[in-house]
């Protein structure tokens, strides 16, 4: 998300680049970036860090499949989803489970901006839109 200030956005993006190792966010590099910012505080440091946080969060979301489920979920399913998404996106994708009873049944998988909807609530919603 752009902040409206090009210098802030550019600096946040620069920090993001420094935080990546082989396309994934490296916690050590993030700690290094934060230490650097603490030591050499840039103008509008808070805004830069907010923009940096958003970019890092988006980057983490790209490498993480959030599997929302209503009923119990087998760990094997989670691993299968992670493997499928890793193949599809050609980057390492891990999966985490999150319970959501509003789905009624089925799954909803979110990887970055993409949502894979196979829940009953989602299908009912689509049906309601189509009627």
């Amino acid at each position: 998300m752009a902040t409206g200030n090009k210098q802030i956005d550019a600096l946040a993006r620069q920090f993001l680049k420094l935080s990546l190792v082989e396309g994934s966010v490296s916690p050590e590099h993030v700690t290094g970036v934060l230490a650097y910012v603490e030591k050499h505080r840039p103008p509008h440091a808070a805004a830069v860090l907010k923009a940096y946080r958003r970019l890092i969060a988006a980057e983490i979301a790209r490498g993480q499949a959030v599997v929302e489920h209503a009923g119990p979920i087998d760990p094997g399913v989670l691993s299968a989803i992670a493997a499928t998404m890793t193949t599809r996106y050609r980057r390492p994708v891990t999966s985490i489970a999150r319970r959501n009873d509003a789905l009624l049944a089925g799954l909803r998988v979110r990887v970055g901006d993409d949502v894979y909807e196979s829940s009953v609530a989602g299908q009912l919603g689509a049906l309601a839109d189509a009627v």
Binding site: M1, R54, L55, D113, D114, V115, Y116, E117, S118
Partner: protein, 508 residues
């Protein structure tokens, strides 16, 4: 048998559990009809996006980590953090004959309270204009029913003719007259059963107009029986700028359906000045770099890509465009007027001074031009009105000189006299288009000097009397002119005799 049923059930079960992929984003800010969205990494330029509560938007600014969308619909329900989805579809509107006689908004939804529209097809709002190979030169006339235009600034099917002038100079009236005239011609042509007859359907796009003005236009078209051949696309002043920006493109899509299905259509954009203003508003909110008069850099492309969609296609139909531009204090050299003048195939310039002098339509002969020229005129009009533009231009020049001196030679006096008669002859009330055959008859009478003995102040009455005479008593002769479209020796003799008969009976 049960195995077969099981197979089908399994297939249904597989289908129903198939995951649907959606690309999503999150609203970060909403202001002035524009939403800034984080995410939507797969969105296409100009793609429709789905907001919660049924509102849709169009992705106009694709930036590195945000998307700027104009929202079409109610933005009051949108809030920060709402999820937005891509649809994978470009914006499209319903098209077809079902829209005739209806008033729709920029998205093709009916706004006239006449119920839903049973349109079977949709066309994309944005479309690349036809290329060079598929185009045909403009050679078929499109009669406006306005004598000054049909005789001096003829318009052809597939042409783009700009109507330009200050506010209150009769720009919309000319457009409405033209639509009414098409309806009149359609009725006569379709009743005749002539298989070669090609009706012209009209689309009136109102951009940034007052609702009261749109209603007035609607009533005028209905009263003239022209609404059944017309689609009205309304994006009034109270509509959000996104709808005002889209309305002309929606209208063009509706017109293209007629063109691509072998029919002829006429589209009026009323007006493109307000359209440019709406686009400027959107662009400034989207923080696009602004240029001259704060318009964005692509304001020329905004209108060129719209007007290029008007064409006459080889083996298909045509789309004629009449864009309207409002000038300020007659300044045709302003940014938007010069842009549109350079795109169109000519312009009809309306002057405030002429309008105030009672010369209506207030067409300025000197500044008006049709670049298609006489190619879009029937032979009969060329025969009787070929020299009119020159004569009238000469008259204006002489009239300006005559103000300074009182001693004028006989030739100059005759020219001034003839010029002032032509000016009077071209006066025409609003919403009263004249059929082309009647125009030919009147101009013939002018050419042969039947008005010379009539006092200049009584020319309008005399012309009216002549029109009534022809319409009531010489119907067969008018039909002959209409069908032959050229004056031969025989027709000229008949016209001469008819004019002489009228002159004998006319008492000024």
């Amino acid at each position: 048998m049960s195995t077969v049923l099981e197979q089908i059930e399994q297939q249904i079960a597989r289908l129903s559990t198939k995951a649907v992929r959606k690309n999503t984003g999150t609203i970060r800010a909403v202001a002035d009809g524009v939403a800034k969205i984080e995410g939507l990494s797969d969105v296409m330029y100009n793609e429709m996006v789905q907001f919660p509560a049924g509102a849709i938007g169009i992705a106009l600014n694709l930036e590195e980590d945000e998307v700027g969308c104009v929202v079409l619909g109610d933005i009051s329900t949108l809030k920060e953090g709402d999820e937005v989805q891509t649809t994978g579809r470009l914006l499209s509107v319903p098209v077809g004959r079902a829209l005739l006689g209806r008033t729709v908004d920029a998205l093709g939804n009916p706004v006239d309270g006449k119920g839903p529209i049973a349109a079977k097809e949709n066309y994309p709002v944005e479309k690349i204009a036809p290329g060079i190979i598929v185009r045909q030169s403009v050679s078929q006339p499109l009669f406006t029913g306005i004598m000054a235009i049909d005789s001096m600034i003829p318009i052809g099917r597939g042409q783009r003719e700009l109507i330009i002038g200050d506010r209150g100079t009769g720009k919309t009236t000319i457009a409405i007259d033209t639509i009414i005239n098409q309806a009149k011609i359609n009725k006569v042509g379709l009743a005749s059963g002539d298989p070669k007859f090609r009706p012209v359907y009209s689309i009136y796009v109102a951009v940034g107009q007052k609702n009261s003005n749109i209603v007035r236009t609607l009533v005028a078209l209905e009263a003239a029986g022209a609404l059944e051949y017309t689609i009205i696309v309304a994006a009034p002043a109270a509509d959000n700028p996104a709808n005002q920006y889209l309305a002309p493109y929606s209208g063009a899509a509706m017109g293209e359906w007629f063109m691509e299905n072998g029919m002829d259509a006429l589209i009026v954009y009323d007006d493109l000045s307000k359209h440019a203003v709406a686009y400027r508003q959107i662009s400034l909110i989207l923080k696009r770099p602004s240029g001259r008069e704060a318009y964005p850099g692509d304001v020329f492309y905004l209108h060129s890509r719209l007007l290029e969609r008007a064409a006459r296609l080889e083996g298909k139909g045509s789309l004629t465009a009449l864009p309207i531009i409002e000038t300020l204090a007659g300044d045709v050299s302003a940014y938007i007027p010069t842009n549109v003048i350079s795109i169109t195939d000519g312009q009809i310039f309306l002057e405030t001074d002429l309008f105030n002098q009672g010369i209506r339509p207030a067409v300025s002969v000197g500044l008006s031009v049709s670049r298609v020229g006489s190619a879009a005129q029937i032979k009969a009009t060329k025969q009787v009105g070929g020299k009119l533009k020159g004569e009238l231009a000469q008259f204006r020049e002489l009239a300006a000189f005559a103000q300074f001196g009182s001693d004028l030679d006989a030739k100059t006096k005759a020219q001034l006299d003839r010029g002032s008669r032509i000016v009077e002859l071209f006066k025409q009330p609003a919403f009263n288009p004249i059929p082309i055959e009647l125009q030919v008859a009147v101009l013939f009478a002018m050419q042969k000097g039947f008005f010379e003995s009539v006092d200049v102040k009584k020319i309008v009455a005399a012309a009216q009397s002549l029109k009534e005479f022809f319409a009531t008593r010489k119907d067969a002769l008018l039909a002959e002119i209409r069908n032959r479209a050229a004056l031969d020796q025989d027709l000229e003799t008949k016209l001469q005799a008819a004019c002489a008969e009228w002159k004998g009976a006319f008492t000024a």
